[in-house]
Protein backbone atom coordinates (compact mmCIF):
# COMPACT_ATOMS: atom_id res chain seq x y z
CA UNK A 1 0.00 0.00 0.00
CA UNK A 2 1.14 3.49 -0.84
CA UNK A 3 3.31 4.99 1.88
CA UNK A 4 2.07 8.35 3.06
CA UNK A 5 4.44 11.23 3.61
CA UNK A 6 3.19 11.90 7.08
CA UNK A 7 5.14 15.11 7.65
CA UNK A 8 3.01 16.83 4.99
CA UNK A 9 -0.01 16.50 7.23
CA UNK A 10 -0.84 19.13 9.80
CA UNK A 11 -2.66 16.77 12.07
CA UNK A 12 -2.20 13.15 12.93
CA UNK A 13 -4.21 11.16 15.43
CA UNK A 14 -4.32 7.45 16.27
CA UNK A 15 -7.24 5.59 17.85
CA UNK A 16 -7.03 2.03 19.19
CA UNK A 17 -10.14 -0.06 18.53
CA UNK A 18 -11.00 -2.95 20.80
CA UNK A 19 -12.48 -6.10 19.24
CA UNK A 20 -16.00 -6.99 20.38
CA UNK A 21 -16.59 -3.87 22.49
CA UNK A 22 -19.98 -2.49 21.46
CA UNK A 23 -20.06 0.07 24.28
CA UNK A 24 -17.06 2.05 23.08
CA UNK A 25 -17.70 1.33 19.37
CA UNK A 26 -18.13 4.64 17.60
CA UNK A 27 -16.12 6.76 20.04
CA UNK A 28 -13.18 7.11 17.66
CA UNK A 29 -15.45 8.18 14.79
CA UNK A 30 -17.26 10.58 17.11
CA UNK A 31 -13.93 12.16 18.07
CA UNK A 32 -12.86 12.35 14.42
CA UNK A 33 -16.14 14.02 13.45
CA UNK A 34 -15.93 16.56 16.29
CA UNK A 35 -12.31 17.37 15.42
CA UNK A 36 -12.96 17.83 11.70
CA UNK A 37 -16.03 19.95 12.39
CA UNK A 38 -13.86 22.23 14.52
CA UNK A 39 -11.38 22.43 11.64
CA UNK A 40 -14.19 23.72 9.43
CA UNK A 41 -14.84 20.75 7.11
CA UNK A 42 -18.20 21.40 5.41
CA UNK A 43 -21.19 19.46 6.74
CA UNK A 44 -21.83 17.36 3.65
CA UNK A 45 -18.21 16.14 3.44
CA UNK A 46 -18.13 15.74 7.21
CA UNK A 47 -21.09 13.38 6.96
CA UNK A 48 -19.32 11.27 4.28
CA UNK A 49 -16.22 11.02 6.45
CA UNK A 50 -18.21 10.20 9.61
CA UNK A 51 -20.22 7.44 7.87
CA UNK A 52 -17.14 5.83 6.31
CA UNK A 53 -15.17 6.10 9.54
CA UNK A 54 -17.99 4.64 11.64
CA UNK A 55 -18.51 1.73 9.21
CA UNK A 56 -14.78 0.99 9.43
CA UNK A 57 -14.81 1.21 13.22
CA UNK A 58 -17.84 -1.07 13.53
CA UNK A 59 -16.13 -3.55 11.18
CA UNK A 60 -13.06 -3.57 13.42
CA UNK A 61 -15.25 -4.25 16.47
CA UNK A 62 -17.27 -6.99 14.73
CA UNK A 63 -14.74 -8.78 12.56
CA UNK A 64 -11.19 -8.06 13.69
CA UNK A 65 -9.02 -9.16 16.57
CA UNK A 66 -8.47 -5.47 17.25
CA UNK A 67 -6.77 -2.71 15.36
CA UNK A 68 -6.26 0.99 14.96
CA UNK A 69 -7.51 3.93 13.00
CA UNK A 70 -5.19 6.72 11.98
CA UNK A 71 -6.44 10.16 11.02
CA UNK A 72 -4.31 12.44 8.84
CA UNK A 73 -5.42 15.93 7.88
CA UNK A 74 -3.88 18.33 5.38
CA UNK A 75 -5.44 21.54 4.00
CA UNK A 76 -6.76 19.59 0.99
CA UNK A 77 -7.55 16.14 2.23
CA UNK A 78 -8.49 13.89 5.09
CA UNK A 79 -7.08 10.38 5.21
CA UNK A 80 -8.27 7.58 7.45
CA UNK A 81 -6.08 4.48 7.58
CA UNK A 82 -7.43 1.35 9.22
CA UNK A 83 -5.11 -1.50 10.18
CA UNK A 84 -6.11 -4.61 12.08
CA UNK A 85 -4.20 -7.59 13.38
CA UNK A 86 -6.37 -10.22 11.74
CA UNK A 87 -7.96 -12.50 10.86
CA UNK A 88 -7.91 -11.11 7.29
CA UNK A 89 -10.47 -11.40 4.50
CA UNK A 90 -10.45 -14.51 2.33
CA UNK A 91 -12.19 -13.04 -0.71
CA UNK A 92 -12.19 -9.22 -0.90
CA UNK A 93 -14.31 -9.10 -4.06
CA UNK A 94 -17.04 -11.07 -2.31
CA UNK A 95 -16.72 -9.02 0.90
CA UNK A 96 -17.19 -5.80 -1.11
CA UNK A 97 -20.47 -7.09 -2.55
CA UNK A 98 -23.54 -5.43 -1.05
CA UNK A 99 -25.48 -7.89 1.08
CA UNK A 100 -22.60 -10.33 1.63
CA UNK A 101 -21.71 -10.72 5.28
CA UNK A 102 -19.98 -13.22 7.54
CA UNK A 103 -21.34 -11.54 10.70
CA UNK A 104 -23.06 -13.92 13.15
CA UNK A 105 -26.68 -13.50 14.33
CA UNK A 106 -25.48 -11.92 17.59
CA UNK A 107 -24.24 -8.97 15.50
CA UNK A 108 -27.41 -8.76 13.41
CA UNK A 109 -29.43 -8.45 16.63
CA UNK A 110 -27.34 -5.32 17.35
CA UNK A 111 -28.50 -3.84 14.03
CA UNK A 112 -25.36 -4.54 12.00
CA UNK A 113 -23.92 -7.22 9.73
CA UNK A 114 -26.07 -6.55 6.67
CA UNK A 115 -23.08 -6.69 4.35
CA UNK A 116 -23.20 -2.99 3.50
CA UNK A 117 -20.13 -1.74 5.38
CA UNK A 118 -17.28 -2.00 2.88
CA UNK A 119 -19.33 -0.82 -0.09
CA UNK A 120 -20.69 2.06 1.98
CA UNK A 121 -17.11 3.09 2.87
CA UNK A 122 -16.16 3.03 -0.80
CA UNK A 123 -19.26 5.05 -1.74
CA UNK A 124 -18.53 7.77 0.82
CA UNK A 125 -14.77 8.06 0.24
CA UNK A 126 -13.20 9.86 -2.72
CA UNK A 127 -10.57 7.14 -2.86
CA UNK A 128 -10.77 3.72 -1.24
CA UNK A 129 -8.10 1.04 -1.11
CA UNK A 130 -8.23 -2.29 0.66
CA UNK A 131 -5.63 -5.02 1.09
CA UNK A 132 -6.01 -8.14 3.13
CA UNK A 133 -4.22 -11.40 3.75
CA UNK A 134 -5.92 -14.29 5.48
CA UNK A 135 -4.19 -15.06 8.75
CA UNK A 136 -2.50 -11.64 8.84
CA UNK A 137 -4.82 -8.66 8.68
CA UNK A 138 -6.71 -6.06 6.70
CA UNK A 139 -5.50 -2.59 5.71
CA UNK A 140 -7.81 0.10 4.39
CA UNK A 141 -6.94 3.61 3.25
CA UNK A 142 -9.73 6.13 2.61
CA UNK A 143 -9.10 9.60 1.19
CA UNK A 144 -11.53 12.49 1.25
CA UNK A 145 -10.99 15.74 -0.66
CA UNK A 146 -11.90 18.72 1.49
Amino acid sequence: MEELRVNEYNLKDIYTIEAGNFVTAGEASSNIKTLLKRLGVNSSKLRNIAIASYEAEINLVIHSKGGQMELLVSPNEVIIKIDDIGPGIENIELAMKEGYSTAPDSIRVMGFGAGMGLSNMRNNADDFKIESKLGEGTHICMKFNI
Binding site: R47, M116, N120
Partner: protein, 113 residues
Protein backbone atom coordinates in the same frame (compact mmCIF):
# COMPACT_ATOMS: atom_id res chain seq x y z
CA UNK B 1 -42.17 20.07 9.81
CA UNK B 2 -40.50 20.32 13.19
CA UNK B 3 -39.67 17.81 15.91
CA UNK B 4 -42.41 19.29 18.12
CA UNK B 5 -44.96 18.55 15.35
CA UNK B 6 -43.78 14.91 15.36
CA UNK B 7 -44.35 14.80 19.14
CA UNK B 8 -47.93 15.88 18.54
CA UNK B 9 -48.60 13.50 15.60
CA UNK B 10 -47.19 10.42 17.33
CA UNK B 11 -48.50 11.32 20.78
CA UNK B 12 -44.89 11.00 21.86
CA UNK B 13 -42.87 12.21 24.81
CA UNK B 14 -39.35 13.62 24.92
CA UNK B 15 -36.71 11.40 26.54
CA UNK B 16 -33.84 13.68 25.48
CA UNK B 17 -33.35 17.07 23.86
CA UNK B 18 -36.64 18.65 24.89
CA UNK B 19 -35.14 22.05 24.00
CA UNK B 20 -34.60 20.89 20.39
CA UNK B 21 -38.28 20.79 19.41
CA UNK B 22 -37.66 23.42 16.74
CA UNK B 23 -35.25 21.11 14.80
CA UNK B 24 -36.37 20.84 11.20
CA UNK B 25 -37.47 17.48 9.80
CA UNK B 26 -37.71 16.72 6.08
CA UNK B 27 -38.01 12.95 5.82
CA UNK B 28 -38.17 9.78 7.87
CA UNK B 29 -36.91 6.23 7.92
CA UNK B 30 -38.06 3.24 9.96
CA UNK B 31 -35.49 0.51 10.53
CA UNK B 32 -33.94 -1.81 13.09
CA UNK B 33 -30.96 -2.40 10.84
CA UNK B 34 -28.43 0.38 11.37
CA UNK B 35 -26.40 -0.94 8.40
CA UNK B 36 -29.26 0.05 6.10
CA UNK B 37 -29.76 3.39 7.81
CA UNK B 38 -26.05 4.17 7.30
CA UNK B 39 -26.23 3.26 3.63
CA UNK B 40 -29.44 5.02 2.59
CA UNK B 41 -30.45 7.84 4.89
CA UNK B 42 -30.25 11.48 3.82
CA UNK B 43 -30.14 14.69 5.82
CA UNK B 44 -32.64 16.04 8.37
CA UNK B 45 -34.26 12.66 8.83
CA UNK B 46 -36.24 11.26 11.71
CA UNK B 47 -35.12 7.75 12.55
CA UNK B 48 -37.86 5.48 13.92
CA UNK B 49 -36.64 2.25 15.44
CA UNK B 50 -37.41 -0.52 17.88
CA UNK B 51 -33.73 -1.12 18.51
CA UNK B 52 -32.46 0.36 21.76
CA UNK B 53 -28.71 0.24 22.04
CA UNK B 54 -25.91 2.83 22.12
CA UNK B 55 -25.13 2.30 18.45
CA UNK B 56 -28.54 3.74 17.50
CA UNK B 57 -27.39 7.08 18.91
CA UNK B 58 -23.91 6.69 17.36
CA UNK B 59 -25.52 6.03 13.96
CA UNK B 60 -27.77 9.07 14.38
CA UNK B 61 -24.76 11.17 15.34
CA UNK B 62 -22.77 10.21 12.23
CA UNK B 63 -25.74 10.90 9.94
CA UNK B 64 -26.84 14.19 11.57
CA UNK B 65 -30.24 12.61 12.20
CA UNK B 66 -32.73 15.27 13.35
CA UNK B 67 -34.52 13.07 15.87
CA UNK B 68 -34.71 9.45 17.08
CA UNK B 69 -38.12 7.92 17.81
CA UNK B 70 -38.29 4.72 19.87
CA UNK B 71 -41.51 2.87 19.01
CA UNK B 72 -43.76 0.52 20.98
CA UNK B 73 -43.13 2.46 24.19
CA UNK B 74 -39.54 1.24 24.48
CA UNK B 75 -37.49 3.00 27.12
CA UNK B 76 -33.77 3.12 26.43
CA UNK B 77 -31.22 2.87 29.24
CA UNK B 78 -29.75 5.99 30.85
CA UNK B 79 -26.43 5.76 28.97
CA UNK B 80 -28.35 6.04 25.68
CA UNK B 81 -30.19 9.16 26.86
CA UNK B 82 -26.94 10.60 28.17
CA UNK B 83 -25.14 10.09 24.84
CA UNK B 84 -28.04 11.67 22.92
CA UNK B 85 -28.03 14.70 25.24
CA UNK B 86 -24.26 15.03 24.83
CA UNK B 87 -24.61 15.21 21.04
CA UNK B 88 -27.80 17.28 20.94
CA UNK B 89 -30.00 14.60 19.39
CA UNK B 90 -33.66 14.63 20.53
CA UNK B 91 -35.14 11.26 21.50
CA UNK B 92 -38.89 10.64 21.47
CA UNK B 93 -40.86 7.66 22.71
CA UNK B 94 -44.22 6.66 21.24
CA UNK B 95 -46.57 3.80 22.11
CA UNK B 96 -47.29 3.19 18.39
CA UNK B 97 -45.65 0.25 16.58
CA UNK B 98 -43.03 0.97 13.92
CA UNK B 99 -45.53 0.33 11.13
CA UNK B 100 -48.23 2.58 12.57
CA UNK B 101 -45.83 5.39 13.52
CA UNK B 102 -44.38 5.43 9.99
CA UNK B 103 -47.90 5.36 8.54
CA UNK B 104 -49.01 8.35 10.61
CA UNK B 105 -46.00 10.41 9.51
CA UNK B 106 -46.39 9.40 5.86
CA UNK B 107 -50.09 10.30 5.92
CA UNK B 108 -49.10 13.71 7.26
CA UNK B 109 -46.73 14.49 4.41
CA UNK B 110 -43.36 13.20 5.66
CA UNK B 111 -41.74 11.31 2.81
CA UNK B 112 -39.22 8.46 2.93
CA UNK B 113 -35.57 9.33 3.29
Amino acid sequence: MKVCDIVHLLDATFLAGEDLGENEVQSACGADLMSDVLAFVKNKTIMLTGLTNLQVVRTAEMLDVACIVFVRGKKPSDDIIELANKHGIPILSTAHTLYTACGILYANGISGS
